[in-house]
């Protein structure tokens, strides 16, 4: 039990949709793996690509950005910008042959408690297969 690899996923959750979605998952007592380390931001557009990169280099096994579905952003269009920035940073990872699967963008609304639980469960499984983030042990970062 103890020595089984338990991924650590940094999750930037937008206050209005995804964070509320996570709360709903909780109030509905849905069980999902304790792999998520939620960081509350007001909008997915607050997530500076550098947050993602430094979380990754600090050894996060994965980084999740979750926000309102397109069109539903509490701030009208924030998530569209978030998506562009994410596309950008992910392309950087891909092009450099780094595991871009460790970065994920998901739209989860306040009413999608079950979806939230699924996303975390399913993503955790995926990361388990990938194994720990090598950056964790690197010294010359």
């Amino acid at each position: 039990m103890k020595d089984e690899f338990e991924p650590r996923i940094i999750g930037f959750l937008c206050n209005w949709c995804s964070y509320a979605g996570a709360d709903l998952a909780g109030t509905s007592r849905l069980q999902y793996p304790p792999s998520l380390l939620p960081i509350r931001v007001m909008c997915s557009s607050r997530v500076d690509p550098l947050f993602v990169i430094s979380a990754f280099l600090r050894g996060a096994d994965a980084v999740l950005i979750a926000g309102c579905h397109p069109g539903d952003c509490h701030y009208q269009e924030g998530n569209y910008y978030a998506r562009r920035r994410f596309a950008c940073v992910r392309k950087v990872f891909e092009t450099l042959g780094m595991e871009s699967d460790r970065l994920r963008l998901s739209w989860i609304s306040a009413s999608e408690g079950p979806r939230f639980a699924n996303v975390i469960t399913e993503y955790t499984e995926k990361i388990k297969k990938l194994g720990p983030n090598p950056a964790n042990k690197k010294i010359f970062l």
Partner: protein
């Protein structure tokens, strides 16, 4: 000053206590730097709990506060209020969610406890970087600027105007009433328009709380909810500065220009008219052909420009029925044929109105590829048969489209337009008459095609919004967790300005730096993430605070 952080862990009855070993958490946390006191409580959000919190903050002279309890969406506000009462700046507080996102989702108590500890540590790592944020209050001007003197604008003005709320009604033409003035009767009741309009206009003109400007134009609007300054160019060509707290855009619509579709023969053949031209003819009692003779057979062409514009204008069918009634009333034997692609008579009354009209011998033909020639209409029937219909007058019902000056106005007010060019509501359901700019509202056909009844409903909706949100003497409390831009670090690339949805960032040409208007800013943080040099940051969600949180969570 010596920092002293207080950590309070809520048992939330059994909710947290049962699944998290709170004592264990307390154990770990107590040893952490500058943690002054760590305590648990049965139910912090209860009256007793709040009292206990307030006392502890004061007795221990806490400088920062971390509470591990339920979701911030539940009780952040509650506890911030307690901080305030206790004389601690409410932003020097962090609420850790160990219920919804911990106790309730993890069965294994050991794991849940470990998670809870982690969360609390992360908060403790973050809290030293919290800054006290000041609570600001601004006066809020109750007066209203209504742009557009049509039925919607009139209705809004009448509802809003009162002894403690002035309304400024700006109309670009020389008279109030808009397009409605030309309508003799209204569908489906066929009551005379005067009944509705005349006395409303009279009331407006007589009200000392409504100032009407005709032949006037809004030249510019700056400011924000509660504090707009509008420049109005009056009929006398003088420019007035008007201070208002909110703006209502009720600028109505224009008709689609039928000459864009040559096959309708508009302005090519005689006796082809648009609906508005026909209303006028009817109002003046002169429905006559070019040659002075009364018409014997008339075709009303529906859905003109429906395909081109890409939406149904919702009103054409019903007023076409009204037109048929006009005609039948004047020339009992006249032959009226409606050529439509889709017939739309929704709602509880129009179906009946339609059936009665049909019963009067008015034809309804589903037709495609309509082509108007001299005194004859070619079209394809539903079963692809080519037909010719001889008529001596044609009435086109062109689509309703945004008024020509919509874009100019949208730009001036910094509100957005939808892909069709109508003013865009904040949210179809959550904010149907609000816009991207707080304090600016839209009603009537300016927002999209709708009939008079619906326009009036929107007018009332807007009035309701304003009356309930901008009560005279009210102070506004703008968001404290706004963005800020470091003058020292800003290089003036204005990326932030481009991505801001609220026009909350302006550029200081002299200093060559971007500046946040903290009252317009809603605190999304988009600008902060878009700034390469870290000059823009979001209070309470600064790069450092988030970074610290992440680092500790990963420890």
């Amino acid at each position: 000053m010596e920092e002293k952080i207080g950590v309070y862990i809520c048992e939330c009855g059994p909710n947290i206590a049962e699944n998290v070993d709170i004592d264990k958490v307390i154990n770990v946390v107590s040893s952490l730097p500058s943690v002054g006191i760590v305590e648990r409580h049965k139910l912090l959000c209860s009256e007793d709990g709040k009292k206990f919190l307030k006392q502890s903050i004061q007795e221990h002279g806490l400088t920062r506060l971390v509470i591990a309890a339920c979701s911030p969406k539940q009780h952040e506000a509650t506890f911030m209020k307690v901080c305030e009462e206790a004389g601690l700046n409410p932003h020097l507080f962090q609420l850790v969610n160990i219920r919804e996102q911990c106790a309730w989702i993890i069965e294994d108590k050991e794991r849940a406890t470990d998670r809870a500890t982690r969360y609390v540590r992360a908060a403790l790592r973050r809290i030293p970087y919290h800054q006290p944020l000041e609570k600001r209050e601004i006066d809020c001007n109750p007066d209203v600027l209504v742009i557009g003197g049509g039925i919607t604008g009139i209705e809004t003005s009448l509802l809003l105007a009162g002894p403690d709320r002035k309304v400024y009604l700006v109309e670009k033409t020389s008279f109030l009433g808009g397009k409605l003035r030309e309508f003799e009767k209204l569908a489906p009741g066929m009551e005379s328009t005067d009944k509705l309009l005349k006395h409303k206009i009279k009331n407006v003109e007589e009200s000392e709380n409504i100032k009407v400007f005709t032949n006037a134009e809004v030249k510019g609007v700056i400011g924000f909810l509660g504090n707009f300054i509008a420049v109005v160019k009056t009929g006398e060509n003088e420019e007035l500065e008007i201070k208002v707290g909110s703006v209502v855009v009720a600028t109505g619509f224009d008709l689609f220009d039928p000459t864009k579709i040559p096959r309708y023969g508009y302005s090519k053949f005689d006796d082809v008219y648009t609906s508005l031209e026909f209303e006028k003819m009817n109002l003046n009692g002169k429905i006559l052909l070019k040659n002075g003779q009364p018409p014997k057979s008339i075709a009303i062409i529906h859905c003109v420009g429906r395909e081109e514009r890409g939406y149904c204008s919702a009103v054409c069918c019903s007023y076409s029925l009204k037109f048929a009634r006009y005609l039948k009333a004047r020339f009992p034997d006249v032959k009226v044929s409606n050529l439509y692609t889709e017939l739309s008579v929704p709602g509880k009354v129009y179906q009946k109105f339609y059936e009665e009209t049909k019963a009067m011998g008015v034809d309804f033909i589903r037709a495609r590829e309509i082509e108007i020639k001299e005194k004859v209409i070619k079209y394809l029937t539903e079963d692809e048969k080519e037909q010719n219909l001889a008529v001596d007058m044609v009435i086109l019902t062109p689509a309703i489209q945004p008024s020509s000056d919509a874009s100019k106005l949208a730009e001036m007010l910094k509100i957005s337009q939808d892909e069709k060019g109508f003013f865009a509501e904040e949210h179809e359901k959550l904010g149907p008459v609000s816009t991207s700019m707080e304090g600016i509202f839209i009603a009537g056909c300016a927002q999209g095609p709708r009939n008079i009844a619906d326009s009036i409903i929107q007018a009332e909706a807007v009035a309701g919004k304003i009356l309930s949100s901008i009560i005279p003497g009210k102070k506004l409390e703008p968001e404290a967790r706004t963005s800020e831009i470091s003058e020292a670090l800003c290089i003036g690339c204005q990326t932030c300005l481009e991505v801001c949805a609220y026009g909350a960032i302006y550029f200081d040409e002299i200093k060559r730096v971007s500046v946040v208007n903290e009252i317009l800013c809603r605190g999304c943080g988009n600008c902060a993430a878009s700034c390469p040099s870290g000059a823009a940051s979001l209070k309470h969600f600064t790069a450092t605070q988030i970074h610290q949180e992440v680092v500790e969570a990963l420890r």
